[in-house]
Symmetry: C2
Subunit: 155 residues, 2 copies
DNA sequence: CTCAGTGCAAAGGATTTGCATGCCG
DNA sequence: CGGCATGCAAATCCTTTGCACTGAG
């Protein structure tokens, strides 16, 4: 699911951080490992739960630096938390499936026909409004299997 | 741009509020008028700027009640604020154009071919994951005409 | 040594809530 | 009168920031 092989991933991140005089330290690498192995966007609490040695403020600070350096994206879906994921050019272009009930977000990849139709349509809107398009976001919203069968909600 | 005629709009809202023992008061009507005439999602400060007689806490409270009653939607796009708009079934299905520079959000309607392709693709994802789809969200992200020509940012 | 990184505690800021008062039916 | 609505002020909660300390080169 990654466009970048594991080793290249760390090399590339090292490079992007170095460009900004940032070091790829143990805790920063831990953040990357957590996000990479999750394969879906995580909230800060979820990140911290994955590695109890991480300090909250440093995690927030590092994720902010990552986002500036193009290593991660920050996503706003609900009021509770923001979500963090590896930057798309380190993984691959994808969209999100959002469960309204438990808040879980998963990745999904759209068919290439949908993507090309999307691009075509978006370019049209862009042209007619003088808008310089840099990207798009597509979310599927509903209720996940767990929440349906559980007749309730749980993470 | 509205699927509901102005008068019907207020009637329908009155009904939805009445179902929850809520009154359609002057300030609530003012909120609706502001959102309806904006034709795009607004932040709370933008709403308050449109009518200085509105109290912040009441506006937040009423928009929360509106959202529960299916009269408005609340949208999360950036860290600064949430955005509010009339519920889609009171206007019409649409998507958003988001300017990264000034934060402005505008509505746009996708072509019916794109929408049907979207639906088809989303249904496929839904089927393969046991996810009960209730809606989708599509945002165009970039830089708006104003911010481009202004070589800077402004609201 | 120098400068970036870390973590604790405090601050910040959008949003929510408590509470006393106002108003409609 | 009874119950919803309102607005001020205080409280919340996620996130950011200040600061002193640690660590890598």
């Amino acid at each position: 699911m990654a466009a970048t092989a594991p080793d290249d991933l760390h090399d590339e991140i090292t490079r992007r951080l170095a460009d900004r005089n940032l070091r790829y330290t143990r805790s920063r690498r831990a953040l990357v490992e957590i996000l990479a192995s999750a394969g879906r966007p995580l909230t800060l609490p979820q990140v911290l739960d994955s590695d109890r040695t991480l300090a909250q403020s440093s995690a927030y600070r590092n994720l902010a630096e990552f986002t500036d350096a193009g290593v991660t994206n920050r996503i706003f879906i609900d009021e509770e938390h923001s979500y963090f994921e590896l930057a798309e050019d380190l993984t691959s272009h994808h969209h999100h499936v959002v469960c309204n009930s438990c808040g879980r977000i998963d990745d999904f990849t759209a068919s290439s026909s949908l993507e090309s139709e999307l691009h075509r349509a978006l370019r049209t809107v862009s042209n007619s409004t003088g808008f310089a398009l840099t990207g798009h976001r597509l979310d599927l919203v509903g209720r996940c299997g767990n929440c349906i069968t559980g007749i309730g909600d749980s993470a």
